[in-house]
Amino acid sequence: MLENLNQNKLIKGYRIVNQHPLLNWLQCLLGLPIFLIGYSYFLYMRKKISYSAQLQDKVAQLHHSKQYEQLLTKYAQQYKHKQHYFNRRVEQTKQDAFARAQANQQIRKLAEAELSKQKVQFMSFTTFFEQLLANRNFVILSFVLGFLIYSLYFIYQNAFVRFVFERFIMTLFVIVSVIVIVFTILYISPSDSAANILGESATLDQRLAFNKQYGLDQPYFVQLWRAISGFLRFDLGHSFTGNEVILTSIANRFPVTLILAITSLFLAVCVAVPIGMVSAAKLNSFWDYSFMFLALIGLSIPSFWQGLIFILTFSIRANWLPSSYSPNNLFSLIMPILVLGTGLAAAITRMTRSSILEVMHEDYMVTAKAKGLSGREAFLGHALRNAWIPILTVIGLQFGVMLGGAAVTEKVFNIRGLGSYIVDKQFIPDIPAILAGVVYIAIAISVVNLIVDLLYAILNPRIRAQLKNN
């Protein structure tokens, strides 16, 4: 029965949740109706079946049974044997007292054992609630009321699900906080949007009307709430200039930026990881030095200058590729992708090399070699597998840098993406459009980092083991 209790997922979740003070508060909040019902039931039951009363009942019951008589004679016999052995006189009164004391003790033990067999034991609310959770009928009956709390238990019973859940909550928190921070920065701006957009000649009434139209006359928290709920409802309102719906503008421009970023990322990984591997495998060779030198140059080149040089070389001088982007021409994406991917590739190459080198000195590499694996087998099977983890982290971090850098690259190649949208809008400055652009990019970055973290947990054996142990 106890085994069964341990296997119940809800109970396991409940026990884990109980250990964390913060989660404990959360479960009280989420499961208030359930707890109220459970607790009143518990109080009622405790009165009815108090443990000590039950025990006394049982003991009294056993006193009148045949077992008691048997025990009495058994202990009397023992006493006699003992006295006999030590050559002492048998005293009747002492014999009776001894036998009764021993028998009473034994009876009490028997009674406790019997009660525990019937699952009646000294009960706290925690154990009582666990029993309720184990009771299928109770769970089904209270499912509507306790849906939230049951899902909480269900999430927390599995370490991996729990990790995903917590990471998810964290991402949500970051996104909301990004909205708050960017909104606040734009809110405390000393410039007056109405004056900027309507121009010097606008009358006070016109400005007030403008402020009213965009809700700029409302207090900070009202505007902030509108911004946050706007993001959740995918309703971002209209931009200050042109009165365009911001969401459609962003939806039109985001795909190019994403395609650019993802292709560059893919290309960078494909190029950089093998190069990093070669550099690490052939340490201090000519190739190693050349690749590392190139990688450092790749880190040091400003992307806009690289873009200009590419345009100069491949478009103006050689006339191979179009110098600016047009949606129907896939070739026009080649140069932006290369430019955007350079810095990323350089960072990944360096990280690959250093993380493989670090892994090479670990104990398990020595073990692998001692086992008789060849250098190549050890390198591919052990070094590479473990070196993946820091590389993945760098990819996640650099993706954010890349999306930020996309603004510059898009400007150079005249791509109408999200980055250039933000830059164009900041000259006005068109507050809702900037807010939306920055937050959407931050969301994209947070999602990528979420994915990276999850992959990290799946790939990293150490984290997997840690999750299992918890």
Partner: protein, 497 residues
């Protein structure tokens, strides 16, 4: 024996240096050669062609030196006198501005010299480059009033450098001689390092440490650090360029005419590079060469400030969150996580959109974005250090927590911060120029590198050199900081120490 020599060759930093110089010189020579040929008109541009030939000559000579060095080491185990004497000719490569082969030559001439010798020749190189670049002003219609006295004193310093260099190369040990003149020398160096040549200050300090009665352990640590750093010649060349840029931004106050860089001159719009205008003139007739020299100052200042400010704020936040209570740690780090989720450039754009574009706002905007990174670095160090014995000992002695943090924990965990800072100055320089290129940040009339490049990018088709040269300046500075950062990381790595 042969095996031993082979190993020696493989470990020889000098040989690596020679090889590196050869490859880089070859690369430069090729680039110059290709650029000296006009594909459209199928003609050679004579001046560039001559420089390219000179570079090619230097490269071939370097190859000869490398082969001789290799043979010497494999045959005798050390470099022979004849090869060393031959190396002296490679010093002439300085005349075409090839610092790679020049540093090689200096190094090869006195391979087992003391660390001061290395400082001395880098000091000499920095002074030489400053004078070389400054002397381009001679071709201008007029120079500043201070030009002649300043250049003259720089030349005197250069002469002094040569004397010191020879003295250091000759004498095996600096510490033994202590005439009065030698004892005064460090102070002289420290005063004259006001020209911005930090190598001179380093040399002075190093000499002072050697002859003084200071803590010998201090002196040893100083020596050890520099020995490790100077081993990486790429880091030293990076440092050389950084110091050169720094020194140039200081001396340019007196030697460069500001008018050429900022005042419009409609008689010379968009002229080709020439001796008067080495990098041509832009659409307002401003000398791009002078603009780049003045831009170095702005780029360096913004780069330094946008590194220093977040380093102090982020370092402080990271330190207290790593050292004190867990809840404080959680609170600070979660807030910084949010900042971390916004890419630096976008945050800067948002801040500039809100507060208007100006240099000050740009510095603030870029600083805010990199606070979390420094905080994370510092926190990780402090977390590691907080459990070490000496912290425990300080606590047992009854020191206050704040005092322990600032006197013991932070100084011991500061090395990674320096490395991170050096590596991110480059990023800051790129970010600054990127934002100026977009038209955000530094005011458009200021000769900042990104601004200069933005004007150049409008004439990409007809006058590409207007965009190429400022870009090269940015790359060189950033590359130098990155090389230096890599070298510092290796030199300060606690695993090796």
């Amino acid at each position: 024996m042969n095996q031993l020599y082979k190993k020696k060759l493989k470990q020889s930093d000098l040989y690596k240096h020679g090889h590196f110089s050869f490859v880089v010189s070859l690369l430069l020579a090729t680039i110059l050669l290709v650029n000296s040929y006009q594909f459209t008109t199928q003609t050679w541009q004579l001046s560039l062609f001559l420089i390219a030939v000179a570079y090619l000559f230097v490269t071939i000579f370097q190859l000869v030196l490398n082969l001789r060095t290799r043979r010497d080491i494999l045959k005798y185990g050390n470099i022979q006198r004849k090869t060393r004497l031959l190396t002296a000719f490679q010093l002439g490569s300085l005349l075409v501005g090839n610092v790679f082969t020049a540093t090689y030559a200096f190094r090869a001439l006195q391979d087992d010299g003391e660390i001061e010798y290395t400082f001395a020749y880098y000091m000499f190189l920095a002074d030489f480059l400053i004078i070389a670049v400054t002397s381009f002003n001679l071709f201008k219609p007029y120079v500043t009033n201070y030009f002649i006295p300043v250049v003259f004193s720089l030349a005197v310093l250069l002469l002094l450098d040569v004397i010191v260099l020879i003295w250091l190369a000759r004498s095996k040990s600096v510490s033994r001689k202590s005439t009065r003149l030698v004892r005064l020398l460090p102070y002289l160096f420290m005063v004259t390092s006001l020209t911005g040549n930090v190598f001179r200050f380093i040399l002075g300090y190093s000499l002072l440490l050697k002859q003084g009665k200071r803590d010998p352990a201090n002196s040893e640590r100083w020596q050890l650090f520099w020995i490790k750093l100077t081993k990486r010649f790429t880091a030293m060349i990076g440092l050389l360029f950084v110091i050169f840029t720094f020194s140039l931004s200081i001396t340019s106050f007196t030697t460069f005419v500001t008018r050429f860089a900022v005042a419009n001159d409609y008689t010379v719009l968009l002229t080709e590079p020439s001796l008067v205008y080495p990098f041509g003139t832009d659409n307002f007739g401003r000398d791009v060469f002078s603009r780049i020299v003045f831009g170095a100052r702005i780029s360096l200042i913004i780069g330094m400030l946008t590194t220093l400010i977040p380093m102090i704020i982020g370092g402080f936040l990271g330190a207290i969150s790593g050292f004190f209570h867990r809840s404080l740690d959680q609170a600070i780090m979660r807030v910084l996580d949010v900042l971390y989720a916004i890419p630096g450039i976008l945050l800067a754009i948002a801040i500039i959109a809100a507060f208007g574009s100006s240099t000050l706002n740009l510095i603030i905007a870029l600083s805010v974005g990199s606070i979390p990174m420094y905080a994370r670095t510092m926190r990780a160090n402090i977390l590691m250090i907080a459990h070490l014995d000496f912290i425990e000992a300080a606590r047992a002695l009854g020191e206050s927590e704040w005092k322990i943090l600032f006197k013991h924990a932070i100084p011991n965990g500061f090395a990674p911060m320096i490395v991170r800072a050096t590596l991110t100055i480059g990023t800051a320089v790129i970010a600054t120029s990127s934002l100026s290129f977009l038209g955000l940040g530094v005011e458009p009339h200021v000769p900042e590198w990104g601004n200069v490049l933005r004007i150049g990018s409008q004439y990409l088709e007809t006058e590409p050199y207007l965009a190429i040269f400022p870009g090269l300046a940015i790359i060189l500075l950033v590359l130098s900081f990155n090389f230096l950062g890599d070298g510092l990381r290796d030199a300060l790595d606690p695993k090796i120490n």
